[in-house]
């Protein structure tokens, strides 16, 4: 590696009185606090989590080594299978909508108009306000008896009787997806807006002079230039969504009848709720291979896009 070679060449004898003058010692000192905290609270729990998932430990019962039994058990668990399907569905659908709506909103904001700064500040609010708190507002809006959404739909003449948003498995999942999209669109919009602003308007003007229609200008000029930013935004969003907990916990708690669980909520229910620590840890860890594949694929793709 190039970095190692450079550092190696510089390794001449240096007076050791001021060790921090040596870049390597200084780097070591500067990285130490970070290394300690991350080692203690990320690397160590990860290791412990793997060990825990291989035992039969519960709350109050130390348990013993059982190999991969927990993983076999969750694999045969129909709720877990629903959970896996839910997580992919939830991540896929919300990402598509967040990207499309976020891009649309970014384009709407990418021009000069009065009050632009104010609008931009306000639309980020769903992203800033603590998720649990804003999700409660949504839960209240989706309330079976007092729903303002039902009221609005009824008065618009779209429904004749109430919709029990969170009581029906499919509707509950859709409601959760709506809230996630609502929360995620501002992040996409603001990040993509920053990406759009780095694209010189002259490129679009040149394409327009050459006779390109608006759609073609978007597809052949704007979109390719926006792709690197889009990919990074997607990477963050996909991981956050895949590992989401708060939203489902507040909206349905995984119900009705365990129909809306994601990995994290099911792990919480088993591990903390019922005290089956090792099984909960196994479910959490089952996220890891998926996350790993997502990260690797996206990073490779980003690298390809950026070097193109």
């Amino acid at each position: 590696m190039a970095v190692t070679a450079v550092a190696g060449a510089e390794a001449r004898p240096i007076p050791r009185l001021r060790r921090l003058e040596d870049e390597r010692w200084l780097a070591l000192a500067l990285l130490m606090p970070t290394a300690i905290l991350l080692g203690l609270f990320i690397a160590y729990p990860f290791f412990e989590g793997v060990l825990l998932s291989l035992t039969s430990q519960r709350v109050g019962v130390p348990g013993e080594f059982v190999g991969l039994k927990n993983f076999v058990k969750i694999w045969n668990d129909s709720i877990f299978r629903t959970t896996v399907w839910n997580t992919f569905w939830y991540t896929g659908v919300t990402t598509v909508f967040k990207l499309a709506l976020g891009l649309w909103l970014a384009m709407l904001l990418n021009r000069h108009f009065k009050g632009k700064a104010l609008v931009r500040a306000f639309i980020l609010l769903p992203f800033i306000i603590p998720t649990v708190l804003s999700t409660f507002a949504w839960k209240w809006m989706f309330d079976p008896t007092f729903s303002v959404i039902n009221w609005a739909l009824f008065h618009l003449g779209l429904i004749t009787q109430r919709i029990n948003w969170l009581g029906d498995p499919d509707l509950a999942m859709t409601s959760i997806i709506v809230v996630n999209i609502w929360r995620g669109v501002p992040f996409f919009a603001i990040s993509l807006l920053a990406g759009l602003q780095t694209i010189s308007p002259e490129l679009n003007e040149a394409a327009a002079i050459d006779g390109a229609r608006p759609w073609n200008r978007f597809w052949y000029v704007t979109w390719p230039l926006l792709l690197p930013v889009t990919m990074v935004v997607m990477l963050f969003s996909v991981i956050q969504t895949f590992a989401d907990f708060q939203l489902v916990y507040v909206m349905t708690g995984g119900g009705p009848a365990n129909a809306t669980h994601l990995f994290a909520t099911y792990a919480y229910q088993l591990g903390i709720g019922t005290g089956l620590l090792s099984e909960g840890a196994a479910i959490s860890l089952a996220m890891f291979p998926f996350l790993f594949i997502i990260v690797v694929v996206q990073l490779l793709y980003i690298r390809r896009v950026e070097t193109r």
């Binding site: 606090p33 991350l38 709407l108 708190l133 009221w151 792990a267 860890l285």
Partner: protein, 283 residues
């Protein structure tokens, strides 16, 4: 842009934008109106006659009063503030130093360590909460603010480091070299020359770290148990829902008041927040 007729501007830009803003802000309006609406009006079925959902003529402070008199809401606010501030300061300290080292110093594995930081940046809290709860218990930190103050940096430090690396890389090397030629040590050049130039970056990462820790939920939910130790999101969730009964008035009042500190910080530093957010995705 090639501007068309006025109606086109409305149909293609203004109306969609108004709809976006309306949908994005409506839940907050709903939170506010519920906070000040008396219970009698709150629990009226959606299809009742003269149900007037969007306004109230009898505003009340009863829900806010309930929050402060019947629950430990003030205590939760204090806890959340304390935890968010201290963990932000710890994370900034670590993140600035680590970001400086990774962006500006030559040492073996600098590149791979940068990648490691980026990967930990992507580790979600939900992956590790069960083993971490055991570790917290073994360290005898359970049910104390320190359980969160020490664990929040696990997602804040990678973020701060990553953002600070971007800011440090943008500062020209010559600036530091000048100071070194004038006789400053590496350490002094860092503390007195480079870090002051990076203050906007520190502010951005600090604000985002603060909002992130205010927003954190699962660690707080798992590590804290006694009502007086809870943070706002956890307290609101566990103390204002009893069994199946939701106390919607106080719940919305708690959600509203619990959002205000974050909203205030955000409103003062919108530009820093946005530049931090967009800086973090530029990488």
């Amino acid at each position: 842009m090639i501007e068309g007729a006025l109606w086109r501007k409305w149909v293609f830009y203004n109306i969609p934008l108004i709809l976006f803003v309306f949908v994005l802000l409506f839940p907050f309006y709903w939170m506010i109106i519920t906070t000040f609406r008396p219970d009698g009006e709150l629990y009226r079925p959606w299809n009742a006659v003269n149900y007037q959902p969007f306004w109230t003529n009898n505003p009340t402070l009863e829900h806010i009063k309930y929050l402060f008199e019947e629950t430990s809401f003030a205590r939760w606010m204090f806890n959340t503030m304390f935890i968010a501030l201290v963990s932000t300061i710890i994370s900034l300290f670590c993140g600035v130093l680590a970001g400086y080292a990774l962006a500006r110093l030559n040492f073996p594995w600098a590149g791979s360590l940068g990648t490691v930081i980026f990967v930990t940046y992507l580790v979600p809290q939900t992956l590790l909460f069960i083993p971490l709860a055991q570790i917290i218990r073994n360290f005898e930190l359970g049910d104390t603010p320190w359980s969160l103050i020490l664990t929040y940096p696990t997602f804040l430090i990678p973020f701060c480091t990553w953002l600070m690396m971007g800011y440090f890389k943008a500062i020209p090397k010559e600036l530091e070299e000048c100071a070194r030629i004038d006789g400053a040590s590496r350490w002094k050049a860092m503390v007195y020359i480079v870090i002051p130039v990076a203050v906007p970056g520190i502010l951005s990462s600090g604000i985002i770290a603060f909002t992130l820790s205010w927003n954190e939920f699962i660690y707080a939910l798992v590590f804290l148990s006694s009502p007086d130790q809870k943070t706002v999101p956890v307290g609101v969730t566990s103390e204002l829902i009893r069994g199946d009964v939701f106390f919607w008035g106080p719940l919305m009042a708690g959600a509203l008041l619990g959002s205000i500190p974050v909203a205030i910080v955000y409103s003062f530093f919108v530009e820093h927040y946005v530049s931090g957010l967009t800086g973090s995705v530029k990488g």
